[in-house]
């Protein structure tokens, strides 16, 4: 494989550096070799109009991670934030070495900004140093007399200044410094400041280039009838009626993945309708008769899962923590509690339904879609079509939401198979019904908690055993507790149930499952002890810091937790009197290194509840962009309310029964609570922002419902009938 990339550098009128695909102008061109895996010039372009464009490896799905990464680069470079634009670099043979670095890979886990904190700053600083070196040569002045700021290199002694792009063609020939000097955080002008998303204008015009908007000359439109049950297979189909419908051009079948292993790399068998418009394809689909062998999952429902739990039919088990002797402590304790919590399947429901547009020409495939996992998509296409990855290009468009769904590769592979079968460029569009029915749902989990109190009313043992649906390939699924409460006798055991319906990663993934039951249970322990649930948590968290210390990673997380809990008492009137039907609840959760404490106020009525206020206290170390971070936490709170209040899905006959927004509801404008987000910065480990606001919401709400009504609800979504 040819790993060497050459950049043809042309002397553009007005300076500037065009990088994309080896620009060659009519002027004489010099060839500069750059290493896609190690050169900032591979992804940073200093344009002749003074703007800076970054083509990054991370995916934009509304979480604004690419803007965050661009801020790190722009700060170190010394660029004006308003001059920076970002997009995602296409994945192909040439960019694969770049995608194999931490700049590429999968986008997810709220990890982009904090894992690339060092690399992006280093990249920006290295470009700064190369530009300064180039200016130093041009002016024959020492490097130490030059500064790079506001998009220019300036020599204050002589009053000379030159825009970055005018130095670019010289700078790019210099060796990339391996350890450039980074700026002092005290001097940050961009990082740590509220800044608009780099794509702010595009987003407000509604003109961002979503995958669903892609068109190609000669493009056809396709819709797919997929096997409605996980693991089922296609027996036969009859297309005569569909073929007679307006605009329909072809109907054929595509195979599912040869063997279902990791669900993230599986796609379903289907019957494809190809037509001259999306509408024609959707309509004609209803007239295809398909015979499926639904397989054993065709009879599955919640009783199937309950039976597996009852019989302890697990496909995998792991002891996630095991300290002391919680069984003995529990057996001899003064007061004990045993409770069961259940989290049900939840859908992603991103507003842009899944879609992908593909063109296949022999062993060359080009796909336009939104994906958190272009490398996975590329590998899956190669496998499904029996071609080499070298011929595959994946263009990743900004997504109209993803929340984990677009980390699966199913919709990418399908489009390649459809384009091959249709022998034309094709856009495959999923209807809302498709998007729901063929989701990879937030898993089901049943969690049993046993806790005990000593004679002082302090927790002295916790045991948690849970059963969660998933695949043994989901190495991340059997989660530990967070439990920042200093328990010396603690055991957490995770058991995996085989999944009768597809499951995957849903915004905040296992932390959502874990925090839901954990913080409901902790609240119940507080009430068992006859103590205030806020003070109970604070005192236990303080005790944890005292016994563990603050010097290691876990200690920094524990002390962060204490500071956040203390901030609750300093900021809110926790004990303030509320009207009779209102209650206040608190919950603590962690996602990665980000700790979040949420306090919810909820109004309870007969058979219903309304979240009226949420305060979130967020500890993530340094906050790169307070405006965009606040946006994420507020969005996460609303995401959480939708899940606890409206997320109910019915699982019967191997299928989730709900299909569209006439059967499923989401939080709307008229139900938005008052929200205040409080960031507490510290010098501890940096955490992410996209997901951490979610896990604490549901338990805070249920704890508030208990405070308001005396009724303890233990399921997600909440069973509102219990409030009648």
């Amino acid at each position: 494989m040819n790993r060497r990339s050459f950049l043809k550098v042309a002397g553009l009128a007005g300076g500037g550096l065009a990088l994309r695909g080896f620009f060659v102008s009519s002027a004489s061109a010099e060839e500069v070799e750059i290493d896609p895996a190690n050169s900032p010039w591979f992804f940073a372009e200093l344009r002749s109009d003074g703007s800076i464009h970054l083509e990054l490896g991370k995916h934009e799905m509304g979480q604004s991670a690419p803007s965050g990464l661009a801020m790190l680069f722009a700060e170190e470079l010394g660029a004006k934030w308003s001059s920076v634009s970002v997009s995602q670099k296409s994945l192909n043979a040439r960019s694969m070495p770049f995608y194999k670095t931490p700049q590429g890979g999968t986008t997810g886990g709220s990890s982009s900004v904090h894992t690339l904190w060092g690399p992006m700053r280093t990249a920006g600083a290295s470009v700064r140093e190369m530009l300064i070196q180039a200016a130093s040569k041009r002016w024959s002045v020492p490097v130490g007399e030059l500064i790079a700021s506001e998009g220019k290199v300036t020599h204050s002694k002589s009053g000379q200044a030159i825009a970055f792009h005018e130095l670019a063609t010289s700078a790019v020939t210099l060796p990339v410094p391996a350890e450039p000097k980074l700026r002092d955080p005290k001097e940050f002008k961009i990082i740590g400041h509220p800044k608009p998303n780099a794509r702010n204008s595009q987003l407000s015009s509604g003109m961002a280039e979503y995958g669903i908007n892609k068109t190609l000359p000669g493009m056809k439109y396709a819709a797919i009838i997929r096997c409605p049950v996980w693991g089922g297979s296609l027996k036969a189909f009859r297309a005569e009626a569909a073929l007679a419908m307006p605009g329909v051009e072809d109907v054929f079948s595509i195979d599912g993945v040869a063997k279902i292993e990791d669900p993230f790399y599986a796609h379903k068998p289907g019957v494809v309708v190809v037509a001259d418009s999306t509408w024609s394809a959707f309509k004609a689909r209803d007239f295809v008769e398909v015979d499926w062998d639904l397989g054993e999952n065709g009879r599955a429902n919640m009783d199937t899962i309950a039976a597996r739990v009852e019989k302890e039919e697990y496909v995998k088990s792991e002891v996630r923590s095991d300290y002391g002797d919680p069984v003995a402590t529990f057996a001899s304790a003064e007061k004990t509690l045993e409770v069961v919590y259940e989290s049900n399947f939840q859908a992603h429901m991103a507003l842009e339904p899944l879609n992908a547009t593909a063109v296949v020409d022999g062993d060359k495939v080009e796909v336009w879609t939104s994906t958190q996992n272009p490398m996975g998509g590329s590998t899956a296409i190669a496998g499904a079509l029996g071609i080499a990855e070298e011929g595959i290009t994946i263009h990743s468009c900004p997504a109209g939401g993803s929340f984990g769904r677009r980390a699966n590769i199913d919709f990418i592979v399908e489009a390649a198979l459809v384009a091959r079968g249709a022998k034309h460029p094709v856009k495959v569009t999923w209807s809302r019904e498709d998007d729901t029915q063929h989701d990879f749902f937030h898993p089901y989990e049943r969690s049993v908690w046993k806790g005990s109190l000593d004679e002082n009313g302090e927790m002295n043992s916790i045991q948690n055993t849970y059963a969660v649906t998933g695949s043994p390939h989901f190495w991340w699924l059997l989660h530990p507790g967070f439990l920042p409460y200093g328990l010396k006798d603690q055991k957490v055991v995770g058991n995996m149930l085989d999944y009768p319906v597809a499951v995957g990663a849903w915004r905040s993934v296992v932390e959502h499952l874990g925090a839901f039951s954990e913080e409901g249970f902790i609240d119940e322990m507080a009430h068992l002890a006859g103590q205030d649930p806020y003070l109970f948590r604070l005192e236990h968290a303080r005790r944890a810091v005292v016994s563990h210390g603050e010097d290691d990673y876990w200690g920094s997380i524990l002390s962060r937790t204490v500071r956040l809990l203390e901030a609750v008492g300093e900021t809110l009137d926790w004990n303030g009197v509320l009207p009779a039907n209102k209650g206040r609840g608190i919950a603590v959760a962690k996602f990665g290194s980000t700790v979040v404490v949420e306090v919810a106020e909820v109004e309870v009525s007969a058979g219903d509840f309304k979240v009226t206020k949420v305060d979130a206290f967020v500890g993530a170390g340094l906050v790169v962009n307070p405006q965009l971070a606040e946006n994420q936490i507020e969005g996460a709170i609303l995401w959480g309310i939708s899940a606890i209040k409206y997320g109910k899905l019915t699982f019967e006959n191997g299928q989730i029964q709900e299909r569209n927004f006439d059967e499923m509801e989401l939080v709307r404008m008229n139900e938005v609570p008052e929200m205040s987000i409080h960031f507490l910065e510290d010098d501890g480990p940096m955490g992410g922002m996209g997901e951490p606001g979610v896990p604490a919401l549901a338990p805070a709400v249920l704890n508030a419902i208990f405070a308001a009504s005396g009724k303890r609800l233990r399921s997600l979504p909440a069973n509102r009938e219990e409030l009648a």
């Binding site: 702010n200 407000s204 961002a208 669903i212 429901m349 969005g635 609303l638 995401w639």
Partner: protein, 153 residues
């Protein structure tokens, strides 16, 4: 059988050929390559497809093309060619969008409200905007942007 229709979109006449029941949403997106108006659900429950018919916000996924001849249709593209309509400017100032997919529909609903009422109360905003879903949860800033836009109109 496809029929010929003449539609008035953003003050221009557009000739299209489509099945009579094809929703205006898909005529815009697939026949006219006007992809600012978005598909979200197809059952009129998400608001992503919102356009104006004679200035009133409607869900274009529920409007068969055969029913919209002779009506002034305004899409997001028609608010401003440069994306600088006062409502869009307010959206930018409030850093409203996250993924942005719902925002064209949100802006169309908001503009229709503001054209009739520059100072909507909170419940008037609720009533006008609760048909537009936002899965990213940007509602708080949508409300702020509406109030801000109203002040500048």
């Amino acid at each position: 059988m496809p029929q010929k229709y003449t539609l008035t979109i953003n003050d221009r006449e557009q000739a299209v050929e489509a099945e009579p029941d094809m929703p205006l949403l898909w005529v815009l997106r697939d026949k006219l390559d006007m992809t600012g108006t978005k598909f979200g659900c197809g059952v009129g429950r998400c608001g992503c497809c919102t356009v104006h018919l004679n200035g009133t916000a409607v869900r274009s996924c529920q409007m068969p093309v055969s029913g919209v001849e002779g009506v002034a249709i305004t899409t997001i593209e028609g608010l401003s060619e440069s994306g600088t309509h006062p409502v869009q400017e307010a959206w930018k100032e409030e850093n409203t969008a996250q993924c942005g997919y719902c925002q064209a529909g949100q802006i169309m609903s908001a503009t229709s409200l503001l054209m009739a009422n520059k100072k909507p109360t909170d419940s008037e905003i609720d009533a006008a905007m609760s048909g537009n879903l936002c899965r990213c949860g940007t509602y708080k800033r949508i409300r702020k942007a509406i109030v801000r836009a109203g002040e500048s109109l």
